[in-house]
């Protein structure tokens, strides 16, 4: 199978500009400069490149939301705040192939007539930031960034902005606030970033992987990229991260047509030490959990939706038999309770409440009616907030209970964790 991103990731030197260009890097940029801006956007639309940050919104369509007039300068923001638990794909791109991202940025900015780009990188990614900054410096030195890039008369400045480690800063309007030096929390929409974004300018926020796909699309055309996915409306390959007790945890570049079962058993080598599968969180911690018998679903966005979950950031978390689902959910809920920005009432109070109820259930102090209470609190959070963080907390909470209700009831009935856990 053809690899879009990871083909040369085994080559330690690929992150350097000389090796990258030797292996054909920045040829897509030269081609892009020979194309019209509209033609590039058209190829990306044809490619069915769906946003890799979790929502899966088609990148070409998103770009179309920019106001037509160019009176206000535009900004491209690269969301490299990879904070979704279970997700570690963008980190790989930035450490193994940073020039893929940079080339994608230059092409995208050229197509969108943008001369300013911020890469908002997660605070914990100190090492990746170093590698990325080195790559940016190289690109400036060799004329791939800065003034009059490759003599094409196109100027672009790229600034790396390192966050301070808040999950919420991965939400695009929080990213923008944080870049502006403000408290990193979501903005009320409308206005949407495409009209009023970073520093009040029309802004597009794209995920690292999304933009890193752009050079390949320009080189090989949108149709070929779309075909790679093997599923309708799901272009290209995805970097699927597998974590948990599997034989070969890691990142796999796979088409959308691959099934979750293949991801776990074929690519990741199945569960280790003879463990059996209990559940899978398929797309980062915020996506609804699937039971072991629900994994014969292909990884494309629509099929996952039909299965009641989401492709998300394609961070597959494998949960083996023997795992206490109450404890697992409790750990997740502590994360959301900690990371809720505190702005909207339902999320600020609801996440903490859910965490506290789960904590007491796991500790053998659950009360009759607690499970119903969790579901009721979830109802008061879902879809009632400025951003999707509340939804992100509710989706695992609801799905864990819907699919493993008996385990929760048993904790409360027996006033102890059947797996012998205590906090």
């Amino acid at each position: 199978m053809e690899l879009v991103l990871t083909k040369h990731f085994g080559n330690e030197r690929y992150r350097h500009l000389d090796t990258y260009t030797e292996l054909g890097g920045y040829e897509a940029l030269r081609k892009a400069f020979s194309m019209s801006k509209e033609a590039i956007v058209e190829e990306v639309k044809k490619a069915n490149l769906r946003g890799r940050g979790g929502a899966g919104f088609p990148a070409g369509v998103k770009w179309g939301f920019l106001p037509k007039d160019l009176s206000r300068p535009r900004v491209l923001v690269i969301n490299a705040d990879e904070g979704e638990p279970g997700t570690f794909k963008d980190r790989l791109i930035m450490s193994r192939g940073p020039h893929l991202l940079i080339e994608g940025i230059v092409i995208t900015c050229y197509a969108l007539e943008t001369h300013v780009c911020y890469i908002y990188i997660r605070g914990e990614f100190a090492r990746e930031e170093g590698i990325l900054q080195e790559a940016v410096d190289e690109a400036y030195a060799k004329g791939f960034l800065g003034k009059d890039i490759l003599g094409a008369g196109f100027d672009l400045d790229v600034t790396i902005h390192r966050g301070a480690g808040a999950y919420i800063c991965g939400e695009e309007t929080s990213t923008i606030n944080s870049i502006e030096g403000k408290r990193g929390w979501p903005r009320v929409k409308p206005p949407f970033p495409a009209s009023v974004g970073a520093f009040g300018r029309p802004t597009i926020v794209n995920n690292v992987e999304t933009i890193a796909d752009v050079p390949w699309i320009v080189t090989h055309g949108g149709d070929r990229f779309h075909a790679l996915g093997g599923a309708e409306k799901n272009g290209g390959t995805r970097l699927v991260g597998v974590s948990g007790p599997v034989n070969r945890p890691g990142i796999y570049e796979l088409p959308a047509a691959v099934s979750l079962r293949e991801v776990i058993y074929t690519h990741a080598g199945g569960l280790k030490d003879g463990k059996t599968l209990k559940a899978v969180i398929p797309g980062g911690s915020s996506t609804p959990v699937l039971k072991a018998n629900e994994i014969d679903v292909t990884f494309d966005i629509e099929s996952m939706q039909k299965a009641g979950t989401m492709t998300g950031t394609s961070g597959v978390i494998v949960i083996p038999e023997g795992t206490c689902m109450v404890r697992a959910l409790s750990v997740l809920m502590n994360f959301y309770a900690h990371e809720s920005c505190g702005q909207c009432t339902p999320c600020r109070e609801g996440c903490g409440w859910l965490a506290k109820i789960l904590h007491r259930i796991e500790n053998g102090q659950g009360r009759k009616g607690d499970v119903a209470l969790i579901l009721d609190v979830c109802d008061h959070m879902m879809g009632r907030t400025i951003c999707a963080l509340a939804d992100a907390a509710v989706m695992p909470a609801q799905s864990f209970i819907w699919k493993f209700r008996e385990e929760f009831d048993q904790h409360i009935r027996d006033q102890k964790c059947p797996y012998g856990n205590r906090f």
């Binding site: 009320v188 505190g342 702005q343 009432t345 996440c351 400025i386």
Partner: protein, 526 residues
């Protein structure tokens, strides 16, 4: 002009109107905490969720603009369930210390709980997150972080109105709280507004703290007497004691704000009041009946006029008095005392602060009114010269002080005048020097109009009758004039205002009805 449907009612609204604003115009209440008409939209409280056709999720009414044909419902089960849910979440960490909270009785949480909540608590008491109570954060404000619902009105006020940004959010999730930065207390002249805009008991007034339960208070629409800006206020009182001012909305004058010094002006109506007529004979003051003091004053004025001529009588008017009272003051001087010696000074003792927002350097509510009624500042200087030169034998002083003179200067000035009469509200150097004190009603004990620095004539209303034996100054001036044979027939401030509008060009065409609550600019400029 989009037309939309709200709970089945068809409503026309101007472009750019939000659902919440539109609902207000047709009298439909959409509950909210973070929305404030004078601040930017925060959208964080989530109380104003409504159903909008074609939107799968509930939308916040405060940030959803009405579009043509939109169908909105705020009365469905889904909305009610959502609002109750948000309210429950808002209350889980609230300390419910209403019995010791000054906000009780006017608290958004109490009001909405009674309307939209009435649920039983499902939250474990031991799970409550506690935050710091009773924090003096500077200005007029006490912060109780535990009662805060984090609506950010205060933060936005300090960013958008005062531009001082002393408050910010700290921490995250359910440990979020508002606070000042370490060692940087509130530092602006508008802090009192924070207690007004705080929908709960998180920010309360130091001055009003534990003074009175709000349900005992009654209100009178009034005008702050603290400076020439004429901020519209509601004066809150119990019995004949004032407890506080709160700003009243007037977009032409003060929007919904008022300054900190102005907020404390109410104290003037309570403290060191002149409550009984006083006559001083042979240096010792004694309380007298109104009849006795009127007779004594009228006799001495008549005697002085007869003996030394009307020029030996002088009247110092006060820009603290209403247009009605100033008009009668002028009429008394011109027609009854027939003296050319009538003047006033807008200068006041102390260093008056001012800014480019609401606080004016002129600390009188009615300087412009005095000017429009033809009472002059030059004449005042003239009178002072004549007093110093011993030419004034009887001096009628309105107000509690004379210009910006110090106590010593005032004492020296009045020492050689054979007969000084004061019409005023508060004890001070003038009342101590006066031979007759005619106590007049404070701003909240009478009605009338003030003309602010911009010429806006604004009404203020009586809250309660004059305290003690003090009287409405209109009665006092009329009483004096009639005892000198004037034969005036004024009955209350409205009859005087009618006379003003009949004879004074700047006020022509005005009436109490046409002034309404927001007033009119003198000279017909709107």
């Amino acid at each position: 002009m989009p037309n939309f449907t709200l709970n089945g009612i068809s409503v026309d609204v101007p472009d750019g109107t939000t659902i919440l604003q539109a609902a207000k115009t047709v009298g439909i209440e959409i509950p909210h905490y973070c929305y404030h008409p004078k601040l930017s939209i925060a959208g964080n409280c989530r109380m104003c969720l409504v159903e909008v056709e074609k939107f799968p999720k509930l939308q916040i009414a405060c940030n959803t603009h009405v579009t043509e044909g939109m169908v909105v419902k705020s009365n469905t089960e889904k909305v009610k369930e959502a609002v109750t849910g948000v309210l429950e979440l808002m209350l889980i960490h609230h300390p419910i210390d209403c019995p010791i909270c000054d906000q009780a009785g006017e608290c958004g949480l109490q009001i909405y709980y009674m309307k939209y909540g009435l649920h039983k608590s499902r939250y474990a008491l031991e799970d409550k997150v506690h935050k710091k109570k009773v924090q003096d954060i500077g200005g007029q404000i006490v912060l109780d972080a535990e009662r805060c619902i984090l609506c950010s009105r205060c933060i936005r006020f300090l960013q958008e109105v005062t531009h001082t940004s002393e408050l910010e959010f700290f921490q995250r999730s359910n440990h979020s709280e508002i606070s000042i930065f370490p060692g940087e207390p509130l530092n602006n002249n508008y802090t009192g507004n924070l207690a007004d805009i705080c929908p709960v008991g998180a920010l309360t007034s130091k001055d009003f703290r534990f003074k009175c339960r709000v349900w005992f208070l009654r209100g009178a629409k009034s005008i702050c007497p603290g400076c020439a800006n004429g901020c519209n206020v509601e004066a809150h009182f119990k019995g004949d004691i004032l407890y506080r001012f709160q700003p009243r909305q007037n977009d032409e004058v003060n929007q919904t704000w008022m300054c900190d010094p102005g907020r404390l002006e109410y104290k003037r109506a309570n403290d060191a009041r002149l409550l009984t007529p006083v006559v001083r004979e042979d240096g010792s003051p004694r309380a007298a009946s109104w009849e006795a003091v009127f007779s004594a004053v009228a006799f001495r004025l008549w005697e002085t006029m007869e003996k030394d001529g009307p020029e030996s009588v002088a009247v110092i008017a006060s820009p603290q008095f209403s247009n009605e009272e100033l008009y009668l003051t002028r009429k008394l001087a011109e027609e009854v005392l027939r003296t050319p010696n009538l003047g006033f000074s807008p200068r006041t003792p102390g260093n008056g602060i001012s800014d480019d927002f609401l606080i004016k350097a002129d600390k009188n509510p009615n300087t412009r009114g005095a000017q429009l009624l033809g009472i002059s500042e030059e004449k005042f200087e003239d009178i002072v010269r004549k007093v110093a030169g011993g030419k004034v034998k009887a001096l009628l002083v309105f107000g509690n002080s004379i210009a910006d003179f110090s106590e010593e200067e005032t004492e020296r000035l009045l020492a050689d005048v054979p007969f000084v009469v004061q019409v005023g509200t508060n004890e001070g150097v003038v009342s101590r020097a006066a031979h007759a004190v005619l106590p007049s009603a404070s701003f909240v004990e009478r009605g009338g109009t003030f003309t602010n620095h911009a010429g806006r004539v604004q009404r203020f209303w009586m809250g309660f009758p004059p305290r003690g034996k003090s009287r409405n100054a209109i009665e006092i001036i009329t009483g004096l004039a009639n005892r000198l044979g004037a034969g005036w027939k004024f009955a209350g401030e409205s009859s005087v205002f009618r006379a003003i509008t009949g004879s004074e060009a700047p006020f022509a065409g005005m009436s109490y009805e046409s002034l309404g609550e927001s007033g009119h600019v003198a000279g017909g400029k709107g």
